[in-house]
């Protein structure tokens, strides 16, 4: 079982397919859950505090807006943990954790930079493309098993 970073990190479709085909999806929910289940200072809604954008300095410089650094503090550790990645280009309408285009650009770049198996594709727009989409992901994940 490989740890597969999903991009958009909030994707229901990718999260489902990765888990369905026997691997562990790494996405926003994993980091948010860690925040929600860790005691500390009360900072609703997602228990992020000013400390988090500071932690994000590891991945983005101080002149980068705080929202990007905060998001990178969620994603950075997951990217480091990831053994593979599936990237859907242009997540136009993934909001919240994936709501910032600049963060998304940096995140996609980090995933491409890391030496690990990577599949890049886009959302299907027809049934036929749905077959190609699922087949590519299924095949990619199957090959991960072989590599492991």
């Amino acid at each position: 079982m490989a740890k597969v970073f999903i991009y958009p990190a909030t994707s229901l479709i990718l999260s489902d397919l990765v888990a369905r085909f026997g691997h562990q999806p790494l996405g926003s929910a994993i980091s948010i859950r860690e925040h929600i289940q860790t005691p500390g200072f009360d900072s609703p809604p997602i228990q992020m505090t000013s400390e988090d954008p500071q932690k994000g300095l590891k991945w983005a410089a101080v002149e980068v807006p705080s929202g990007i650094r905060g998001r990178m503090s969620l994603y950075g550790p997951l990217v480091e943990e990831a053994e593979a990645a599936i990237i859907i280009d242009e997540p136009d309408l993934a909001f919240g954790c994936m709501g910032c285009a600049r963060t998304n650009e940096l995140l996609a770049f980090m995933l491409r930079e890391k030496d690990m198996p990577r599949l890049e594709l886009r959302y299907p727009a027809s049934k036929e493309e749905g077959v190609t989409f699922v087949a590519q992901i299924k095949e990619f994940l199957k090959n991960l098993e072989v590599q492991q």
Partner: protein
């Protein structure tokens, strides 16, 4: 700042979505309740949310998937169900992530078809299907968005 004492530590929460002509969200929730054995189930408009130990949640999800294998989709959630910090009733509006689900739920019929078709394929056929190119998304932004809007 006041201290924060988390609840449900060590649990996982998963969303279960269904988009099927044969299975309703209520069917999913009912089936989950039947084998819950104390695991927290919350019925929602799209299926249910399950909160419990990772093993318990996995046990229930494996069972649910069998009800409609190609049309049930599962995703992790950071918050336990009904958490006031994320609840629409308390925020006045949906959290942003809801709209992302709404977007992807508009596409899952293609995924369902893809799952069904690839399930019947031999390894060679799967490899061949995976080798197909999806057209490059040159004019993706507006054109595809518009066609999706029309379809809706």
């Amino acid at each position: 700042m006041k201290p924060y004492v988390p609840q449900y530590v060590g649990t996982v929460t998963k969303y279960v979505f269904v988009d099927s002509p044969d299975t309703t969200p209520q069917d999913i929730a009912t089936a989950a309740y039947e084998i819950a054995q104390g695991v927290m189930i919350k019925e929602t408009c799209f299926g249910c949310q399950i909160t419990g130990s990772p093993e318990d949640v996995e046990r229930i999800i494996s069972h649910l998937r069998k009800l409609d294998p190609y049309r049930i989709y599962v995703k992790d959630r950071g918050f336990p169900p009904g958490d006031a910090r994320r609840c629409r009733a308390d925020l006045g509006g949906a959290r942003p992530g809801y709209l992302g689900h709404e977007y992807e739920m508009g596409l899952v019929r293609y995924i369902a078809y893809g799952l069904q078709e690839t399930d019947r394929m031999t390894p060679d056929e799967l490899r061949a299907a995976a080798g197909q190119e999806m057209p490059t998304p040159d004019a993706l932004d507006i054109d595809i968005l518009e066609s999706l809007m029309r379809e809706e």
